[in-house]
Symmetry: C2
Subunit: 332 residues, 2 copies
């Protein structure tokens, strides 16, 4: 796979976004979020997702000129309207606002309605830990997951992000409520591999590790069966009730048209409690106790390593995605 420098990737993204008519400061931030996602190794939601993102702008799913507006507030709790604007910019601003609220009130909570796909959810976890805070956020999605006890998708896989700051390397969990995403299923399928664990049902209703059988049945499993199913429901309920926006059952089911998502961003200003500066030591001890043997990793552990490698050696890109980006960003 070819490698390109962070700067080249960023500039190509920025230039493509400018050509779409996005205001310069916003194009720059949006490009940075896509470039960082790719550089951190989350390729599915970085460069490889950019083409779909552009299509949702061109087809009117995403309104590039909208910016979030405050609807109601009550101290540390705010409701914002994302006005169908750019998903990663809306989410970035919302976590930024939650962090501000947490600086003032200890904790901050921003509910965001009418937004769009936030791309890599982990971005907003990293945003919180970079500000020294704990970040918790989640989004609803289009229906793509059968609840436990049913065979048709009525739940979203509703990714949840939890991020804890730590000087040695933050711990950032970014997980959907399905055991495998459709992207992962087709990646296993393309490589001719079975899933490492059971991932869903086949058409006969049998649990299977065959990714193709699950793509066919459209019955991926929630994590922990009834447990992840329940949790996906609660995340949708909270995001929608707090934001006053759309629930999963109201979101268009086509990824090209999926919009009007509901999200929640919580920031907790750990430093306000941690007056003796013990939190970093506590975190190190917990990580150390986890890793007394080989083979145990913590969420986010490899990100800093991948980031460093990709900054030094260039970011690996799919040739076709890179060619497409260059054609979108080139003059003329």
């Amino acid at each position: 796979m070819p490698r390109v420098s962070y700067q080249d990737l960023f500039e190509a993204l920025q230039s493509a976004l400018l050509k779409l008519g996005i205001e310069p400061a916003r194009a720059s931030l949006c490009a940075r979020l896509f470039a960082e996602t790719t550089c951190d190794g989350v390729y599915s939601h970085g460069l490889n997702r950019f083409s779909l993102f552009v299509r949702t702008i061109l087809n009117g799913t995403v309104n590039i000129h909208s910016q979030p507006e405050l609807v109601t507030s009550s101290g540390a709790l705010e409701r914002w309207d994302g006005k169908f604007g750019i998903g990663n910019l809306n989410a970035y601003q919302s976590m930024g606002r939650a962090i501000e609220l947490a600086r003032r009130h200890g904790v901050g909570c921003v509910a965001l309605a009418n937004t769009n796909h936030w791309m890599r959810g982990g971005s907003y976890g990293w945003q919180a830990v970079d500000a020294g805070q704990i970040g918790i956020c989640w989004t609803n999605t289009l229906a793509n997951l059968p609840p436990w006890g049913a065979s048709d998708p009525r739940l979203g896989n509703n990714p949840l992000v939890i991020a804890v700051p730590r000087p040695e390397g933050p711990v950032v969990l970014d997980m959907a409520m399905s055991q495998f995403s459709y992207g992962q299923l087709s990646s296993f399928q393309m490589r001719g591999k079975q899933l490492p664990v059971i991932g869903g049902y086949d058409l006969k209703g049998q649990l299977t590790q065959d990714p193709g059988a699950i793509e066919e049945s459209k019955r991926p499993l929630p994590i922990g069966y009834w447990k992840g199913s329940g949790m996906a429901l609660l995340l949708d309920l909270m995001a929608t009730m707090l934001s006053g926006g759309q629930a999963t059952h109201q979101i268009p089911r086509n990824p090209e048209l999926e919009n009007g998502l509901s999200q929640t961003f919580i920031a907790i200003n750990l430093a306000a409690l941690d007056q003796n500066n013990m939190a970093a030591q506590i975190a190190d001890q917990i990580i150390e106790s986890l890793q007394t043997s080989e083979g145990v990793r913590y969420p986010g552990q490899n990100v800093l390593k991948t980031r460093r490698e990709n900054l030094e050696e260039g970011i690996p890109v799919e040739q076709s995605a890179w060619d497409e980006l260059r054609s979108l960003s080139s003059e003329g």
Copy 2:
């Protein structure tokens, strides 16, 4: 199974707690929490757990006279010291405090160190929804769950509670990060039943539905394999870093001695945002969209029905547990 009235159960519990020397108002609340848990059908953490609870008082694990003390506060965020007091009373006071903070600030977050087993976590979710708020809380536990990639228990199963108010019946998720608790494993084992899904490894390192094989290997699975493993870690990190208390790796591994837990309680005052009173309707629509076919239940759905039945017909009790309680509560 014999049935006893709520009132008889409550009075027997209260009387036993008074005999142990607990102050009357606190004995009454503690008895109510145990009685409500049993009445709601969560038998494992109600009457059937009372005898272990009493032993932890008698052996000094739980200090019946301690009450939580405020350590630090920053607006809507507070750190409390549970001083090794009674777990359910400490947790109830902490969620109550988070609710108060949320009334004032929109959202409230209380971190509690040095507390004890909170018994039924769902109690504090119901407490929040009874106050019209969203409640989110979690606890760490003794190490009882191998992280993904290891075979010895270094994580707690760290139960998480998420509760959303709804006039037709709140949605209350109360779930540990293990697919099955040891209590559930031995209950399946005693009934000679296989688990409905894979629940852990046998001694040979093969995934299995045999509850006895998992009890033997002490290798239950986290929900969603690496995902629940990551989430259990994050819950321990957050609870411990926010409270300044003990992490799972520091908690005594014997259930009779397990103490000094760390917990977090978040309350969100939904009503402050929901000025047009749309939240109840949003919740009803989400539940309705979930239940277009038979067989799909939402978390907490059966609680109100069980509660009503048990209030009308008496609460089913294990004869031995009821006899033991009566001997603890009887005069002389």
